[in-house]
């Protein structure tokens, strides 16, 4: 077990990315605007790994969150000027070693070749599924209990959610940058906290507080005023990304850089606390089973909110496993339709598409027609506007046969000359046929997962065979 930290002063952890595709300038702005001890960068939503698995399939040197490399390049001046600054990220995706090699090259070329990079692997179970199945692991579906063997569809990714321990191990071994694949989002924050404060691994209240801090900042600007219905009052173009200030006693304050846009108040913090959770009495991470119902939130100053009272207990002896499998193909096409009868007109367009597909012998397994602008973004729930004079027609299909979906994508453009008048918006060309990755959540015994931590200087990672 790594050495225990004994930090006595405030630990400042900022998060500069909440998903793969987040604002590229946010991390640089964050570290330039304030002094952080750790910058976390979170890139992996539930199905991001399946997309990255497909990238790796085509090119074995890729399959990580490539955005991280652009971000890292932008952070070179800060890394050179701020010796205390460390980075913890799950940018490794499906290929943490290749990510480290690419990151190592960037650092080496920038004259920071002695920066240590720690890489956490072992979450990727794809290559071990047969072996694990033979050992009796059935990967039963979370909701249905069905064993994975009954699925009978090609699996594209299978990743266990690792916790904070390997991050702590990497930091204790001297890593300045820690690159992981799938770890629980909150563990990106819990790892640095455990390393710095040296709490015990059964100190459930403090682990719970650190996990709440991680949960609050993991989605970036969503806790600092982003995705808010008070958007009118906020400067979101310059929104400040979040900072969690942790103390040795487990106290947590959420804030953002001075002079940045957005807000941190009771509203933004409470909204994010309940974001993407199930039973609030059991927010499960690999590190702790957190009870959110004991959490109290208090505004203590301008853009400063203290969060206290989180409680927790030992987590389950299993880890969550996120499995994605191929489930056919999908495509969606859009056309702008105007006219006093725009809704009727757009439905006529969709009818033409499907009649022509039928004539070609194709009836897709699933179809959906949306007249966006007529209240169909949340169909049947939003007030319908049958008199809309301008709607975006969106047609989507899904089918096991790629050629059926391909044919659908060719049936939209002919409407431009052969459908009703008042159509536009086809400049983007034929819609793309995309594979469907369906989601299979499961669990696995902790001791079946083989976690590895590898720490080397950036210059040494560049030579890593991938």
């Amino acid at each position: 077990m790594p050495r225990n930290g004994t930090r006595a002063v405030t630990l400042r952890i900022g998060n500069g990315a909440g998903f793969l595709g987040d604002w590229l300038d946010a991390p640089r702005r964050l570290v330039e605007a304030t002094r952080l001890d750790y910058l976390t960068l979170e890139y992996l939503a539930e199905l991001t790994l399946s997309i990255l698995a497909r990238v790796r399939e085509k090119d074995p040197t890729r399959g990580y969150a490539a955005d991280f490399l652009d971000v890292l390049s932008s952070l070179i001046p800060a890394l050179a000027a701020q010796p205390q600054l460390k980075i913890v990220t799950n940018a490794g995706g499906m290929n943490p070693l290749a990510c480290a090699a690419a990151a190592g090259k960037i650092l080496h070329d920038a004259g920071l070749g002695d920066t240590t990079i720690g890489v956490v692997t072992g979450d990727d179970l794809l290559g071990r599924l047969d072996e694990l199945a033979a050992a009796g692991h059935d990967f039963a579906h979370f909701d249905t209990g069905e064993p994975l063997v009954a699925l009978g569809k090609p699996i594209v990714s299978a990743n266990a959610y690792l916790g904070a321990p390997p991050i702590v191990e990497a930091l204790a071994s001297g890593a300045r940058i820690v690159i992981t694949g799938r770890v629980a989002d909150a563990s990106l924050t819990v790892g640095p906290a455990m390393h710095e404060f040296g709490w015990r691994w059964d100190d459930w209240p403090r682990l719970a507080q650190a996990s709440v801090a991680g949960h609050l900042i993991e989605c970036g600007a969503q806790v600092t005023g982003g995705y808010s219905n008070t958007w009118r009052d906020l400067d979101l173009a310059n929104v400040g990304y979040p900072i969690a200030e942790l103390e040795a006693d487990g106290s947590v304050t959420i804030t953002k850089p001075d002079a940045s846009g957005g807000a941190v108040d009771r509203r933004t913090v409470c909204e994010q606390l309940v974001y993407e959770i199930g039973d609030p009495r059991h927010y499960l991470t690999p590190d702790v089973d957190v009870d959110f119902t004991t959490v109290e939130v208090e505004e203590i100053g301008a853009d400063r909110v203290t969060v206290r009272g989180a409680s927790g207990q030992a987590p389950p002896d299993t880890l969550k496993v996120s499995i994605a499998y191929r489930d056919g193909y999908t495509a969606s096409g859009q056309l702008l339709v105007i006219g006093r009868d725009a809704v009727e007109r757009s439905r006529a367009c969709a009818a033409i598409v499907f009649e022509r597909l039928r004539a070609a012998g194709i009836e897709p397994e699933a179809t959906n027609i949306e007249c966006l602008g007529a209240g169909e973004g949340v169909p049947g729930v939003l007030a319908a506007n049958a008199n809309a004079t301008e709607v975006m027609l969106r047609i989507a299909v899904r089918d096991p046969r790629r050629e059926a979906v391909e044919r659908f994508t060719r049936e939209i453009a002919p409407l431009i000359t052969g459908g009703p008048a008042g159509l536009a918006g086809y400049a983007a060309g034929r819609p793309e046929v995309r594979p469907v990755f369906a989601y299979w959540p499961a669990r696995i015994a902790r001791d079946a997962v083989q976690v590895r931590v590898d720490v080397r200087a950036a210059g040494d990672w560049t030579a890593t065979p991938r």
Partner: protein
């Protein structure tokens, strides 16, 4: 706060945010204060939310209480028509539900 007819639109007394877990969605509803929270606890039932989102076909709706932050969390099971990647809706991940629910009228 509640108007003369003692009905209220949710967006007047609370704010909300939604997201996905596989094919399930959750909507966190945070009351503006303790009085508004008390109103939500009695009036914004799981049944009321299930009825409001019935067109989306949730298998069931479960409600959880977080009184210390004056919030309710609703889990809408199998409401996302397949969820991210598989759903054919524009809102594959239920992101719009949190804004949509603000139009819900609370019964007197």
């Amino acid at each position: 706060m509640a108007n003369e007819a003692n009905t209220a639109v949710l967006g007047d007394i609370a704010h909300a945010r939604s997201g996905d877990k596989g094919n399930h969605a959750n909507i966190g509803v945070v009351a503006h204060g303790p009085a508004e929270y008390a109103l939500l606890v009695t009036r914004l039932t799981a049944d009321r939310v299930a009825e409001f989102f019935a067109p989306l076909g949730p298998a069931r709706v479960e409600r959880f209480e977080l009184p210390k932050i004056a919030a309710l969390n609703f889990v809408l099971y199998d409401v996302l028509a397949g969820g991210a990647s598989r759903s054919l809706r524009i809102d594959t991940q239920g992101k719009l539900l949190g804004t949509a629910i603000l139009d819900l009228e609370l019964p007197a």
